[in-house]
Each structure stands twice: as structure tokens, then as C-alpha cells.
């Protein structure tokens, strides 16, 4: 049974939302702190860390607010295809940054 089919208790939802908001507050603060910190040289490590924290944030919203943690199999299938295509898209982007055809002039 998905979350939307279960009986709902408003008070328990308010508690859940309060916890989610507090965690979002903490993760947002962590992202900002990482951004202004002096971790590593350049931006590579910082970007990786900040995006990792953003993924945690996204997991909270998708998992708890969108009820993805208890959804139907068909929705997981749709999202699995989306993830595959998204990874393909980003993979092509990464390939494009490295593989220029011979004779390409860089400005």
C-alpha cells in the first residue's frame, strides 16, 4: 500500500515535517559552510561535497515529502528509466568535455 492510500494522522505529519525542515536547515547550513571553507585546492572537492549534501537534501524531499520510500513498483520503474537516461545524458556531457574531434580550435 502506498502512503497516499494509508489512513493519515495530521499530527504525525506535522511532526515529520518539523524533523524534515530541521534537517533541511542543517544541510543547507552545511552546504554554505563548505562553500566558504578552505577545503582542498580549487573548487573540485568543495563542489563534490556540496553536491553530496544536496543529494541528502533531495533524498529527504523525495523520500518523505513525495512518499517515494513507499510507492508502487510502476513508479519505481518509471524513475529507474529516468535515472538511466539522466546518467546517459550526463555521461555524454562528460565525454564531450574530453573528446574534441581532431582539428578543433579552442578559443
Amino acid at each position: 500500500m502506498s502512503e497516499s492510500e494509508k489512513p493519515v494522522c495530521l499530527k504525525s505529519y506535522i511532526r515529520l515535517c518539523a524533523v524534515v525542515f530541521l534537517v533541511v536547515l542543517c544541510t543547507t547550513s552545511a552546504m554554505i559552510a563548505t562553500s566558504f571553507s578552505h577545503i582542498g585546492e580549487g573548487w573540485t572537492l568543495k563542489v563534490a561535497l556540496i553536491l553530496a549534501i544536496a543529494v541528502v537534501n533531495a533524498f529527504l524531499v523525495a523520500g518523505y515529502l513525495m512518499h517515494l520510500l513507499s510507492e508502487k513498483k510502476l513508479i519505481y520503474t518509471v524513475l529507474a528509466f529516468t535515472v538511466i537516461f539522466f546518467i546517459g545524458l550526463m555521461g555524454l556531457t562528460v565525454c564531450a568535455t574530453n573528446g574534441f574531434p581532431p582539428g578543433t580550435v579552442s578559443h
Binding site: C9, M31, A58, T97
Partner: protein, 267 residues
Amino acid sequence: MEIPYTVQIRPDTGLYNAKLGIWLFLASEVMLFGGLFSAYVLLRVGAEPGMWPHGWLNVTLGTVNTLLLALSAITTLLAWAACKVRDFTKFKIFHACTILLALTFLGIKSYEYHDKLIHYEVQLTNGKFADGHLVEESKDFDLAKKNGTVTLHGRIVEKEEELMDLRAPAAQSAKLDEVTIAATDIKKMENYGPKHNTFTAIYFTLTGLHALHILGGTLVIFYFWAFGGAMWKTDPERFTNRIEVSGLFWHFVDLVWIFLFPVLYLT
């Protein structure tokens, strides 16, 4: 004729139709924003060393907007939960909060856009660069005819590279003052609009598309808030499902911002 499976679960999918529909739509939206994020990656990786901007956006305003959207996602969920327990008054309160939070978000975004549109980079004929917010133009100011003067609140730097990293110690300690420039000394004058450079182009594209989603979602939520009473009285379960579907869209818009904020404001 009654539309099938607006409330009842369709046996082969295990879902009511609108829910499957919104998830398919959201999957296509992931690819839409994914394409723009991949464009961002290409532009950033392809930028000349030291020429990708840092610190151009106001982190405080971005943070406030992040929290506003997170709160609005929560009030949307609570509005749906209120429908599930058949409390229409609480639904109205929670969704009114969502609308107010969304409008505040858009107001802050508009302020940020305005700030960029009155921020100018002026290339001077002596090779230096003036940069700052427009204070005033003299009445006879005409760049094409080289008449008049323009006053900015900002600074003059030797190289354009110095304007790229506003988090660098030199930029942080720079003193901003009013700078008046004669039109005859101006080689090129351009605001920080979408055509300024690749960063502002992708910034306005990504955040503009996101703001359009916010606007669309707000209109839908407002429609349910203002005119949903009739359906609530006749078919509350169907109305609740509509609120769930609009809520899923709203959470997706929040999800996109969760990545836009760090990518544009923090890195």
C-alpha cells in the same frame, strides 16, 4: 460520461491515472532540467581558467529562498494531509501559506534579477574596467553619440579577471565608491543580463525556467484554493487526489531548487 480511475485504483497499474500521469510528466521534466544542467557543466568546464564567476549571487537571498521553498513543500504536504482527514479549513490555511511563500520566493527572485540588470560592467578606452550598480545617467547621456556621463556605485579595476572571483581577498577588501565616467571614455557598456557572459546566460535560463514552474504551480494551487470548494463538497476523494498531484509537482520544483541553489550560488 465519467472519467475512469480518478479515484479508484486502476488494477493493472495499482495507481489512479492522474498519479501515473504526473510521475511520467515529472520524468520528462527531469530530462528538461537535466539538459540545462549538462549545458551548465559544459560551459563551466569549457571556461578559460579564472574566467568562471564566483560570488556573483547573493547567498543570503538564495538561502532565504531555499528555506521558503522547503517550508512551502511542507505546507503543501500538510494541505494534502488535511484533505485526507477531511479538514477543509486546515487545507485552506496550509495552502494559503504555500501561495504566500511562493509569491515571496518570486518577489525575492525578481529583486535579484533587478539587481543584475542595474549592475554594469564598463570597458574603458584606457583598457581598464569599471564595475558597479547604476546610480544615474546624465540627461544628455548617449553612448552612441558619446555624449554625457554615467555614474556607477562600484570600482575600477585593471583587468576583467579581477571581476570574476568576488570571494577573493582583493575583491572582498575593495572599497566601493561612486565613479562618474564620461561617454567619451567608454568603449563598451553592458549590464549583467543574460547576454553578458555564459554564466549569466545559464543563470537566467535555469532560474527563469524554474521561476516559470513556480508561477505555474502557484496558479494551479491558487485555483484549487479559491475554486476547489465545489468539488470538495461533491467528491472529496477526487479533490484530495488533485491536491496530491499538484503537491508532487510542487515538491519536484523544490527538488530542482535544491540543486540550483548550490550549483549557482555556492560553487
